[in-house]
Symmetry: D2
Subunit: 347 residues, 4 copies
């Protein structure tokens, strides 16, 4: 069966990546692409790398153009998808790549985003636990799915296994991320200019202000944390895409190294898209570039009393568009890996 | 007065940077440059950016060629400077840019480097405390100086003020560094190839194995720490030079934000080359590229209970060659900033 | 039908890219991977981005390990594939990604490569003309194929249509290429270190010494040139992969702009993997990253009397591994685009 | 004597670079910095790398704030400096870093820029010839100086010696440039975003439309060309600053290699800031990063009948701010190299 698909925000980076991946998806057929200021242009004029879509023209983003598809991807600015989604049929599978439907807590939403809270949808990281069960279970058959924040899901995948297994403490976590600027979208901001980023490492949202923090905490609570605390610092580095998250967590006293490592081994033993590397190996972002794969390396620093977890993710794929399509596959009962690349484009 | 200078390891990155800075130093005159495999070539054939030195030819590195100068910079592979230095006159000011003379602890040397330990020289980071006094005091009049490890000094400058002032705990520190590959020198290693590093973030020495850890701990003990522990992870990112160190330290319970911040303000109030940025501002490595300046930004994350200190340093300047020259200025009684650039080459 | 495949040089960049592409090829199954110094290691330890191949171990490169497959890819250092190929069965489809079998002229081989000349195989750029016919025709049913040089095929695709149509002169051509370092392979050379290439543009082989020049001339002779001459200069720039070739050719006097443009339109009208962009549009290498697509933009500079052709190619895909697989598809009678990506990984 | 200085456009890249260089100039003292939208802020808040200027606040750009200085640098958007300059005293040395006063030809101005033409000032590339004499002569004592376009001066320096000496033809020249995005300033344009430029080579102004073409032609006419024609193509590459210009010119038939090379040797024999490299050596942009140096390499391609000239320049230094200060030194009778860096910041 072929599902008809509409992609909104198709002129942006997330929308473009959804389209790139869908070109190789055997069950999904892109019928409609929409945009805001670029509506009326041919898609390939705005996204010249998407040669599969020379036949498509960008239309206005609104409920009318998006209606009538089996599957709608929303890749819109934060705060704008709630209204659009509300007008789409309940039978339509709607996947929101924005933040609007990720947080269960209205307080966290108000504190970090502000504006009206539209409630939480099924969370698009199937490999994460969800209290008594998994995210994957809740995604099955879902018709409303929130794709994750790229930084949030990378850190959650790094730390959830240790918390679920009780081998690391769930407070005083520390994560520092090297991230590429494509995660910030095509926004015209001075600090995203090439001249500002080439040859430089630039921190931002230092000191606990990043909007992905409550999303991380929510995922860690699903893993069993009571009241997780985390020091989280992203650093922009000169690569277009990619997240390398280095997370250090205090080992629960008395836990031996093998038991610590086993927590991650067990969590991801059956997973295709989240893989734990052998001892002594650590991932590079190039290894997952363009791929729906999260690679994780783990080291135990006995002197420091911490486990160090290094995770590499392509923010636009496993961090956004790939997570969205993987979740859609689950929701619709398709093989979970359908149409999704496993191998990175390296070097 | 003009001091005669010899620079060994002049064909490498550290040696080249010493020469670049010395070209603008009014009191130092480079008479001799030496190298290993490149001996016999003109300096500018190997270091084509150093147009001030078209008259110099690389000579063999040995005690004979280095003798007879007022000042000798050793930019040699780790483990090789001790023997050379032993043959130089006690009156000669010798500055070792390698690791050989940084560590006071023979055990730490044996554990992280191995081989014969040559003992510790005056440590070339004048802004750091040294028990009852400062490094600057010990550098005055010194004739043997160890330039710091670039990562080590960046982290030490980030954390020492808080420890000295008693506002942060001296254990369970966490530092993650984005670093450029020039810190690894011109070594022909696959993981340093451009194809491996462009477009990627690559961790290394994960889990407490990096050789700069004991050097950091030594500096923190000088600041008053009893038995400091730190989780330290460097990440190679695609910029030729620069270190952005993000360090998170637990605030001593009951310390208010103003008191925390005051520790760094007080420590660096009179310093030219280590500057604390105003609240809410954080440094980028481009801001210090080519300069002998360390810029520090600081945020207090009350939810996480940690202060986050972000420091930007050019590994080849304030991290190595600039620190060496600044220390030489002090040792010889010159104005400390003589010949040293303060402004970064940005963008 | 499934064809069994062996890939030699599997630890290098070209070999790795062949494997990345083959992972999505429905008719080819990789059974054997070989290497030189890395033989005995698991493939994924050396190529950690190739998660599809966790079951494969690198074997020694020799005729025994390569024998018995339907299809053998040789991604070996120049000058070494001839001997290996000679030992493989004439029925086996052998595709050489090295230079050994590209040049028909023994003199050109001797002048630019030296050593024994093994003669020319079918040339793996199906879109290029070949005297009275096309390369595609000669590739059909072939059992020995030479994949092209990446720079050479990019320039040949840029200029051949104008020469074939008689709208540009075939002498005094000028091409300048911005190229990523992956084209040089994993060689441990100082000029390929990240520190040397980050933040810099570095020319090499200036003044007509690059080995791809005779290969370009050969392709232009196939297009009808009598004695083509070209000034060819490659410039290494800080991107891991990609070629942007800017070629300027003198327009045959009296030819109007529409006629010039029509030469390229006609040449590539039916092609999937070589596309001429609309007037006023020019390609970026990011648009073809990871894809088997060559994008070409064309402008007529009447004041200068030249047509400027800008072509973007991923050196590892359309420039090497993709060309090899596309040619294999043709040789075996498969649909030409089988398993090959059309869309670039951008941004 | 100390000259008082005002810098307008101080929040941009060119203005920032003027300030960086002036910090080391012993005769110039920056009293006033002005900006447009950033007026009222402290300079160092906008240009955090300029630690020498923590005492300065940005003022409004207008004739009143700029009046009363010995020396005024205008680093303003094209088309806006003419009006400001007209209000400044004829005794004030005014250096325009914009294009407004570079072109002598009103027709060329109208054709490539449009709007009112303000006439040509002394041209700030002292090393170039100027009909019967040099630019340097005209700069001596001048009070109105046009700093050059960065691409234009790089190409002019590459080709003028061959034309002046009559060893290359002055028509059918071809130049292709790898350039960093800082040359385009801090403009908020999508094609200047880091995500667009990282990992990619992006051509622009293809086919003879770039505004620096008439400026190149003017310089070549000063060198003796009658009606020079040039195919000129710039390519944005992922480095923040730098120009690598590859220019190919037809050798006048019958001219031997030594005579060709001698033209450049003679032209730059006495120059400090424009240096011809030895035979077989070619410059990299890193070699001149941050320096006021143009490095030139030259190769003769006999098969192609062309000389290939490769020139490396830092667009913000020798291409703009350094050229401006070097010209100011000449105008005021100071030593030409006062305050200007000769060595590049590499790696």
């Amino acid at each position: 069966m072929t599902y008809s698909v509409a992609v909104s925000g198709a002129s942006g980076y997330a929308g473009g990546e959804i389209l790139r991946l869908l070109a190789d998806h055997p069950e999904f057929e892109v019928r409609t692409v929409t945009a805001h200021s670029n509506a009326g242009q041919s898609l390939v004029a705005v996204q010249p790398h998407l040669r599969s879509y020379t036949h498509l023209t960008l239309r206005e983003t609104n409920a009318e153009t998006l209606a009538g598809h089996d599957l709608v991807f929303l890749a819109l600015p934060h705060g704008t998808s709630g209204a659009v989604a509300a007008e789409l049929s309940a039978d339509t599978l709607v996947i929101d790549c924005g933040a609007d439907h990720r947080l269960e807590s209205s307080e966290a939403w108000a504190s970090f985003y502000g504006g009206e809270h539209h409630g939480a949808w099924a969370y698009g990281v199937p490999e994460l636990p969800r209290l008594s069960g998994t995210q994957r279970e809740r995604l099955t058959g879902a018709r409303r799915i929130a794709a994750p924040g790229c930084n949030a899901s990378t850190v959650a995948l790094s730390l959830a296994p240790g918390i679920r297994a009780g081998v690391i403490e769930d407070v005083d976590l520390v994560s520092v991320l090297a991230v590429g600027p494509s995660g910030a979208g095509k926004s015209l901001r001075t600090n995203l200019l090439a001249s500002e980023i080439l040859g430089s490492a630039n921190p931002y949202a230092v000191g606990g202000t990043h909007r992905h923090i409550p999303e991380i905490q929510q995922a860690l609570r699903w893993a069993g944390a009571a009241a997780p605390t985390i020091s989280f610092t992203p650093v922009l580095v000169p690569m277009s895409r990619g997240i390398l998250a280095t997370s250090a967590a205090r080992i629960v006293p008395g836990t031996d190294a093998a038991t610590v490592r086993a927590a991650w081994e067990d969590a991801y033993a059956g997973e295709l898209f989240v893989q734990l590397l052998p001892e002594g190996q650590f991932p590079r972002t190039a290894d997952v570039q363009g791929a729906n794969t999260a690679l994780i390396g783990l080291a135990i620093d006995e002197a420091a009393g911490r486990v160090v977890v290094v995770a590499a993710v392509d923010n636009l794929v496993k961090g956004t568009a790939g997570a969205a399509i993987q979740s859609a596959n689950i929701a619709l009962g398709l093989a979970e890996s359908t149409g999704l690349p496993l191998n990175g484009v390296a070097p």
